[in-house]
Symmetry: C2
Subunit: 350 residues, 2 copies
């Protein structure tokens, strides 16, 4: 096994997080982006909350589309309402429209050792604009040009888009708008320019042919993206047969860009694997994990809000090659596992 | 009626176009972009072709993905093959993958009067790169910075993306790559910069919430796009209840940007309507057609390769306000209709 889970796992869960308001409960604290801030390690957690509700009703917390300044509102429908159609723990349909059962914001957690975290009592970023009607999710943090560049999923009735924000200190965040229109998530910004342009992996999710593949794009300014190139798709019959998406910030190695990505199979089991791509043409795949580097195995990975899921939004690399992957388990908890660049590269030799 | 069809309609159809190779037949010549080139009016037609085939087989012409230099290949499957699933006249599934029954290229047609066209005997642009495996479709032409900027749908196994090409003379075309990753089509570039940036409407087509809405984006260089903003969506119960997409190049008027767009309802009936948006913030909708300005009515609009469709990729505006809309009918023929900017604006006053 090229990877060792932290014995302290899960590091954090919903019971460790104070709700953003007294009538909400925290149901998930997971899929964190990570960064080094001074001597600390900070995680930007995705915290999903929902209002207290009775057993016979479904609730959807959301921004009021006609007046986002009113803050979060709650749609309540009875489960036996003929206009209501339950889907899974994450979503339901009402009058033909899709709603989420929880709404996510981003919350900061700080640690000196990367294992014991102190979680802020208030959100770092709350949904606050139209494109964030149903929440903000799955932040990735890339230090670029002396700032922390954060991309996250902005979910609304229009779909799942990707938004950008920047911060110096994780106290104030400047929103820079949508960098990818819906549906597009799992954006992973490279830590440096490639061929004179900023670079990223992204994951458009099209309706025409139903593909959920990883693509590469470049940008002169981090805000406008183009020169899209297909990177890799799903592999029938394998662990990543249904969908793939980039996760942690790509790691520059002598062999190429090393990316830790997630793949799901047709049973919606999410695993992590590696992708090695060309240093100068990062859309060209050199190697790819035949087997996952991390698969749901522990109880906290197999059971939870949405079970059988390991999913990463970030990893920290030490100068000695040690890598700590922070990952969400069962869409509920935050965990970590340790490996090295060398071990990850070794898994790609066949 | 604010709009008059040309009595010569349809102006062109498949029987007027020479196939690109002797074993192919032309099935559609439609959805043309238009421009003025010197004293001529040129249309860049979408020409769909398919190989001759027997009544018991389905055929999919395509680029060989492992070697596009071999040119078009043909996949032939028997209709009674258990791996084969017919969908409609445009597509079928084989072994779980979607294929198109025809492949489109772009063909130039020239006219002195905008009604009688001479069609080139050879294609202007053929599919030739991976992203064009299943064809290139629905070109829009925008004169920008002294060049003709052409955007078109690039269709492949990865979905429907939008590509850019530029030309000075419609003889040679320079491909500039994908400007929108799949699924995204119906891109309409503004004829001038707005707020210092190039601008466009585009139509992402997401799988998450199933939206097919019109969005606005801006670009510093025509190649990289961002600052995505929702413009307008489908309207339940109306003529544009299922999908909407921008068509002709937006027309600058004193009242705002006037865009002619298509909408489809749940019976897949495609009509044309108008959108008026703010001059400085073109994502802000000022007015929108409650009724179509053009709906399938004539035989050539109601019957054909895919009936009950009018669809535009371009219109020409005279300095006196006269507008000639070129449009595809029933996904098969090329037609035109005449109106004025004033008449179109008048339809938007309610």
């Amino acid at each position: 096994m090229p990877i060792q889970r932290f014995p302290e796992n899960p590091l954090m869960g919903p019971s460790d997080v104070k709700p953003s308001r007294p009538d909400f409960e925290v149901v998930c604290a997971f899929n964190a982006g990570c960064a080094r801030l001074g001597s600390e390690i900070v995680l930007l957690l995705r915290v999903a909350e929902r209002p207290a509700h009775g057993p016979d009703e479904l609730v959807a917390p959301l921004l009021a589309p006609d007046d986002v300044s009113r803050g979060l509102q709650v749609l309540r429908v009875r489960k036996d309402d003929p206009d209501c159609e339950a889907i899974d723990s994450r979503m339901f349909k009402y009058k033909g429209r899709l709603y989420l059962t929880s709404i996510s914001h981003l919350r900061l957690a700080r640690s000196a050792n990367g294992k014991n975290f102190v979680i802020d009592e208030v959100p770092a970023m709350l949904p606050e604009v139209h494109d964030e009607e149903f929440g903000i999710e799955d932040p990735r943090i890339t230090p670029i040009d002396g700032k922390f560049t954060i991309n996250y999923s902005a979910v609304s009735r229009h779909g799942v888009a990707t938004a950008l924000a920047v911060t110096d200190d994780f106290r104030t965040f400047e929103r820079r708008g949508l960098i990818f229109a819906p549906d597009n998530r799992d954006v992973s910004l490279f830590p440096e320019k490639v061929g004179g342009h900023y670079a990223c992996f992204h994951r458009p999710m099209g309706a025409a042919f139903g593909q959920q593949d990883i693509w590469f794009a470049s940008s002169p300014d981090l805000l406008h993206w183009g020169e899209h190139r297909f990177v890799c798709g799903c592999r029938p019959g394998q662990w990543d047969s249904l969908k793939v998406g980039a996760g942690a910030v790509p790691i520059k190695t002598e062999s190429g860009w090393l990316a830790i990505y997630h793949g799901a199979d047709h049973r919606h089991r999410y695993c992590l694997g590696c992708l090695l791509t060309d240093l100068e043409e990062p859309h060209r795949v050199i190697a790819r994990s035949n087997e996952p580097i991390l698969a749901p195995q522990m109880d906290y990975e197999r059971e939870g809000f949405f079970g059988d899921v390991v999913f990463t939004c970030g990893a920290l690399v030490e100068t000695d090659g040690r890598v700590v992957i922070y990952y969400g388990s069962s869409d509920e908890h935050t965990c970590a596992a340790e490996t090295t660049v060398q071990e990850l590269l070794a898994t790609l030799e066949s």
